[in-house]
Subunit: 440 residues, 2 copies
């Protein structure tokens, strides 16, 4: 019975388990710093979207009145948009600069790809405004252009929510995205209803499209409430006064049922204007919730980062107390009964505590991963719609907008939810004898 | 009708959509570089695990023969392990160094947490070897210790597969992980069968545990074949000679049915030795598949990186041809009919091509995300088991190994798959009036 003669060399220059415990924490801190920046950006995007929604509303009134109304309010609104646009662009640039020199966001490629899509839209705004100023567009055309740009900005927020690696922050980002998206549907409903009421006629297709805008926003606000805390919910309820909601519902009913009974012309214009003002009060009030969401997000990021930094410091202190050559490993095989009879020795308590810290961290990360998966599942609905659109684009050679219209039209005709139609399309995919590869 | 007097200022110092198209590509390249390093590390881990599996086998024979057999082969095997361990540690350190100065892997925290767990195991190897050399351990104890260390190394490979952001590379990593895990089950079966055949007795519990080891490895190899190309499958089939497989199955049957009929003692020892040699031939032959997987992984990472770099160059060339102030935005609202009548102008073709590139990239990233989700779904089985273990640990105050034993025991008793038992545990979770938070 001989002891093995080989040198059982340690690797003294190599890093220990505790070093990697620290490295794991550093990664978390990097991700939290990144999330804080992204969250700030989401806040600014929220303010820009709100300003653009207001500009869209004013532009519609301006165009519908052939330049007679809101011309004076439009200019300061545009000035506000320009200033917020500059903030958003600066935020984009900062993300890009940091991704060059340091870690980019986890889903950097997708986030930057969304930004790449929205920037030409911002670039095209001056031309759009010029054409609106020159009354060269119909209200519906202006609405569609602003809606496209806002959709692009919202898709940046969506990626930010989808890429968040902390479940609590992800939860708030999901609430924020859904709130912004719901508010945007409310803005589209305002424009749609204003036009419909002004025209004074109502047909089945129009009624269905209006209904879809209402349902879409309610679904978004439902997700928002599911993911919000009590304080936010109180603020949300307070922001929607009973009087405004009652008036809104009354006019929604009139729009849905009016038809020949309501004459177009003066009455229609007045009704349309009352509708527009009521919607505007409601949408502007939503802004307080959005601002609170952005503030909560900032506070949460700050809190999480501080917490992670203090944990990191704790680890580093432990690392400092370990002798460079300390054997913090003797207990690894304990559970395996391999060292059942190992003598108690100096530093054993510390070893145990390092192994405990490793296990604790590992379980915490796993629990976070599970929680994150649950939160992200709420984003799946939109992903399913996106996927179905992609399928239709590839299989039927449609543009993105044509594919979306096709899905929406089917949903309206069949009185089904958009996501259900999208799921049917995806389920059908295998039966289509077509190439599912994206074009290259 | 007046044009709006506000300056429709451009933001000339700000970055364009194309800049972010490039930034998105850079993120992808960073991720691919990171994946290449992780894949290299996975290759080295594969070789270390193989060497440790051999050392475990030799240690078992050495211990079972009271030091009489394989003493001379054990030392060079340990030397090989030490050399590979140094490579693995260097790979760990490199990841950590890079994460400090540049982007860490996307799932850095989880990957580093796994490494933090496995390093104390490597640190504890010299003590384990000393005790084996001094014949202080039973074969089963040595087997359990090596199995625990190898499980830790495999969990690093698992995180690498789970964190991969490219679906093709992820596919190969999933194949690699499952192959390594299957091979490890084969190694455990070798040790288990050798002990069982040497003892010459067979009871129901033993029979079931053996069956579970066989089923577990077959499930792993099934996932491996699902995710492998034709060339790999040919290699896999060739590595498992019919003669070896026939012998293996014959001895498996003998082990399962032997019982009192087969006497312990000389016959048992010979049978055990024949079993051990047969398993060793089979496991050693698997090494060729593992090496090929590692080589394929390296080649794929190289190919993907080169491809992404050449795409990046293409974008940069386009960026170079655009005048600094070029309006590459005019077409953004085209689909929205907002600029239906915009005149054709110089550079329009280029603008279109930039918008096309953005859309193409966005669809490619989306398709990659979908594909990645599909590949990762195959890793869910293991995650479900991990989650159930975590639940049991929290709810019943068990250690990780006790939780695993409990699940495995239930699976054996009820003749169900481990993952099915884990799913039952998770489904039951809501009925347990206990805290699901991880310990803090």
């Amino acid at each position: 019975m001989t002891l093995c003669p080989l040198p059982f060399a340690r690797f003294p220059t190599m890093k220990s388990g505790l070093n990697f415990l620290i490295a794991a924490r550093r990664c978390e801190i990097d991700e939290l710093d990144q999330l804080a920046r992204t969250s700030d950006l989401v806040g600014v995007i929220g303010r820009l979207v709100h300003a653009l929604q207001r500009e869209r509303g004013m532009s519609n009134v301006f165009l519908a009145s052939r330049g007679g109304r809101l011309a004076d309010q439009r200019d300061p609104q545009i000035a506000e948009c320009l200033s917020l646009e500059q903030e958003v662009r600066a935020g984009f640039d900062q993300l890009e600069t940091e991704a060059r020199h340091r870690a980019g966001p986890g889903n950097g490629a997708r986030l930057f790809s969304r930004i790449a899509w929205v920037l030409p839209g911002l670039d095209a705004l001056p031309a759009l405004r010029r054409r609106i100023g020159a009354l060269e567009l119909k209200p519906a055309q202006a609405t569609a252009a602003f809606a496209k740009l806002i959709a692009g900005l919202l898709s940046v927020v969506f990626e930010a929510a989808d890429g968040a690696t902390d479940p609590e922050i992800s939860r708030l980002l999901v609430a924020m995205f859904n709130f912004m998206q719901g508010k945007e549907f409310a803005g589209q409903e305002r424009a749609f209803g204003a036009a419909a009421l002004a025209e004074g006629r109502s047909d089945e297709a129009q009624r269905l499209q209006w209904l879809h805008l209402i349902e879409s926003q309610e679904r978004c606000f439902q997700v928002f409430t599911d993911f919000s805390d009590a304080a936010l919910l109180v603020l949300w309820r307070e922001s929607q006064s009973d009087a405004t909601l009652a008036e809104l519902e009354r006019m929604r009913r009139m729009g849905a049922t009016s038809a020949p009974a309501t004459p177009a012309g003066i009455a229609g214009t007045q009704l349309s204007q009352a509708w527009f003002d009521c919607c505007t009060r409601r949408i502007d009030a939503m802004k307080t919730v959005e601002d609170r969401l952005a503030a909560d997000l900032r506070a949460l990021c700050g809190h999480k980062t501080a917490q992670a930094r203090s944990e990191l410091q704790k680890y580093q202190e432990v690392l400092g107390t370990l002798a460079p050559q300390a054997d913090n490993s003797a207990m690894f095989f304990d559970d395996a009964d391999a060292q059942a009879a190992a003598p108690a020795q100096f530093g054993r308590h510390l070893e145990r505590s390092v192994l405990d810290m490793v296990q604790e961290q590992s379980h915490r990360l796993q629990a976070m991963g599970d929680e994150l998966e649950t939160v992200r599942a709420s984003l799946n609905e939109r992903k399913i719609v996106e996927r179905a659109k992609g399928l239709l684009m590839a299989h039927r050679r449609l543009s993105e907008e044509e594919a979306h219209k096709m899905l929406r039209q089917t949903a309206m005709n069949q009185n089904r939810r958009l996501v259900d139609v999208a799921e049917s399309v995806l389920a059908m995919a295998d039966y289509l004898p077509l190439d599912t590869q994206p074009p290259h």
